[in-house]
């Protein structure tokens, strides 16, 4: 896919005003790759698996050449067999390893729902805490150039519904690295859904390993008139929208959820208390998606603060169409 035609390469918004001479700016891909490199270096139980992790594309670059450094014992290609390999990763995790299982697309996770939902998410609870499953599953949402119905699904709405899973959607290069390191260190099954558009960004990433707490979101832009809640690529869109609104004198607060499960309720409610107006933005389908849960939560616990209905920006309820004129109508942002 000619990415240059779909999404230009850019610096991510300078959310936190970190840019400065001494700040290292690297591509999003490189941030993930560095996290993996450091995790592999620091902990011999970490390994990386998935179709193509050792190939010349190296999972959009996120795993590029790691097999050369750590050997194909620790960074290895797998058969497609997504359900079997997920179960194998679960077993390896139970056996004391820390697998990081890469998929090109969340669409392929649908083959592995049995092992993800029936097994990984339940193993700790079902046995009264006797067993842990420290497993990371990573997949990257596709978009554009006719990716079409089976290669562009943003399935966070499904995973957000499953108790026992943690669900991460990073929005910045800094977070892509820090949340990956936290996910690998976590003793529970964690799903990281990336967005292909984030891979066109560059941003500030410290060189040393660091972790970002799972379950905590953050304010990307403070504001007092309206709260825009988003995750992953939608944070960038929300930020740009906030800048637009500022021109009209509307002071929008932008919340980056970072983790969708467990959700940072406090952060959301604190903001809603201040602004009383909310828009929730997501890359997934609207009906029954993450925007539904966030809206319902706000109504349940922050009804008194609300000055207006919670609005949702999400994909229309159809499979992703292939054609570019239809894609244009399908995607928000």
């Amino acid at each position: 896919m000619p990415w240059s035609k779909i999404k230009p390469e850019l610096n991510e918004p300078d959310f936190d005003n970190v840019t400065g001479e001494d700040k290292r700016i690297i591509p999003y891909t490189e941030a993930i790759r560095e996290a993996l490199d450091q995790a592999l270096m620091l902990d011999p139980s970490v390994f990386v698996m998935g179709q193509g992790v050792d190939d010349p594309a190296g999972m959009f670059g996120a795993t590029l050449n790691l097999h050369k450094k750590y050997g194909r014992e620790r960074v290895f290609d797998t058969p497609l067999a997504e359900n079997g390999l997920t179960g194998i990763a679960v077993g390896a995790a139970i056996g004391g390893m820390r697998p990081v299982y890469f998929h090109n697309r969340p669409d392929f996770l649908l083959l592995a729902m049995d092992q993800i939902v029936n097994h990984a998410s339940k193993w700790h609870y079902m046995f009264g805490g006797a067993v842990n499953v420290p497993l990371v599953i990573w997949a990257c949402i596709g978009r554009g150039w006719g990716s079409a119905a089976q290669h562009s699904q943003a399935l966070q709405g499904l995973f957000m519904h499953i108790p026992g899973l943690k669900l991460i959607m990073p929005a910045t290069c800094y977070d892509a690295k820090g949340l990956m390191l936290s996910s690998i260190a976590d003793n529970n099954p964690v799903i990281i859904l990336e967005h292909r558009f984030n891979f066109r960004h560059k941003g500030f990433v410290p060189k040393e390993p660091y972790r970002i707490p799972i379950g905590k979101g953050m304010v990307r832009k403070p504001g007092k008139d309206i709260t825009i809640i988003a995750a992953s690529y939608m944070v960038t869109e929300a930020y740009h929208a906030a800048l637009e609104l500022a021109k009209d004198g509307i002071d929008a607060e932008v919340i980056d959820l970072r983790t969708l499960r467990p959700l940072d309720e406090e952060l959301i409610l604190t903001s809603v208390k201040k602004t009383g107006r909310v828009v929730v933005a997501d890359t997934g389908w609207k009906t029954g998606g993450i925007t539904a849960e966030i809206s319902a939560l706000i109504v349940e616990k922050g009804f008194a603060f609300l000055k207006a209905p919670v609005l949702r920006v999400a994909s229309p309820d159809v499979p992703t169409p292939a054609g570019y004129t239809l894609e244009q109508a399908f995607y928000a942002g």
């Binding site: 079997g84 179960g87 139970i94 004391g96 097994h119 046995f127 009264g128 006797a130 529970n188």
Partner: protein
């Protein structure tokens, strides 16, 4: 193969113990105090015992819904099992799992899945961990003919061969998945029988003949420990009781009465006892001692379970995450 007498007696004892635990569960089930679906392995004890007799405590097993035998044969705590059936806080899964979800990590039992076939890749993954950690362990996967319908078996075996993993697939072919005969679900013998021997040691044995199972498992375990890769052992057997719950299901009529009685006559425990008695390796006294010891142990386990506290509803959110 000539086994020492104490090994033979041990095999007998372990089968008998599993059987007697099953029978006790069965006899008390109608009281509705064990509020959990049960899947008895009566008639299949030789498989769990014959395989696990070759394993060390550190070796892993992956089990399924019909897992009492696997759990006990691997050395799982009896009190923990019975307390789990009584849904107690002291159960092996703290009352969160019930009969289908047993665990005892202290003896390498990492939890059983009630999703048919679900444990197959997990057991394979344990072998991957063993391999990566260069541990002197093997991983055994128990699964039934229903599980052999599932594509995940193909995926797992392929991976195990590819990576030469120390995993042993124990195919407990009791010929039925619930009321559905294997011939209604599978084209022929399982396809792995045709795999070439360099790739995988494959064997079919009489699953009711403990020594046949023991011997095949021994070879498989040796190979796994030697780094020679996976094995696939089909144990032909039969579930003489109903699929779930207590008692016979002969009244349902989905299988011929003669078939059931034929297999009852092939009971792995009585046939083995006859053999031991014939060869003078065991006496009626030995047998009575065993029975008595087992009964005492079972009495205790049930008392323990019945007297144990129930988990509290308010703690329901515990154990969601580590």
């Amino acid at each position: 193969m000539k086994l020492p007498r104490d090994t033979l007696l041990r095999l007998y004892y372990d089968m008998l113990r599993i059987r007697k635990v099953q029978l006790r569960i069965e006899s008390l089930y109608h009281l509705d105090e064990m509020k959990t679906p049960i899947h008895l392995c009566i008639g299949q004890e030789a498989i769990a015992v014959g395989v696990c007799a070759n394993l060390n405590k550190e070796d892993y097993i992956s089990s399924n819904h019909r897992g009492h035998g696997h759990y006990l044969a691997k050395g799982g705590d009896l009190k923990g099992l019975i307390a789990e059936l009584y849904c107690r806080e002291t159960g092996c899964s703290r009352g969160h799992g019930g009969s289908m979800h047993l665990v005892d990590t202290s003896v390498g039992h990492i939890g059983s899945s009630s999703i048919v076939g679900g444990g197959i890749p997990i057991g394979t993954g344990l072998a991957l961990a063993i391999d990566m950690k260069k541990q002197d362990r093997v991983s055994v996967v128990f699964f039934g003919d229903g599980a052999a319908d599932e594509g995940v078996l193909y995926e797992s075996v392929n991976f195990a061969i590819l990576k030469k993993l120390p995993v042993i697939y124990i195919y407990e072919n009791n010929q039925y998945s619930v009321c559905s005969r294997v011939s209604a679900r599978q084209a022929d013998e399982v396809i792995f029988h045709a795999t070439s021997p360099e790739h995988m040691f494959t064997k079919t044995v009489d699953g009711n003949a403990i020594l046949e199972v023991y011997e095949a498992a021994r070879e498989a375990v040796l190979r796994a420990r030697n780094g020679d890769g996976p094995s696939f052992i089909e144990c032909k057997t039969y579930r003489v009781r109903g699929h779930a719950g207590a008692g016979s299901d002969a009244g349902l009529g989905y299988r011929p009465a003669e078939e059931i009685s034929f297999w009852e006559s092939k009971c792995p425990i009585t046939t083995f006892r006859e053999k031991l008695l014939q060869k003078g390796l065991i006496s009626q006294n030995d047998i009575q001692d065993m029975e008595r010891n087992i009964d005492i142990e079972i009495d205790e386990a049930f008392r323990f379970a019945q007297e144990s506290p129930l988990p509290k509803g308010e703690d329901i959110l515990q154990y969601l995450y580590e």
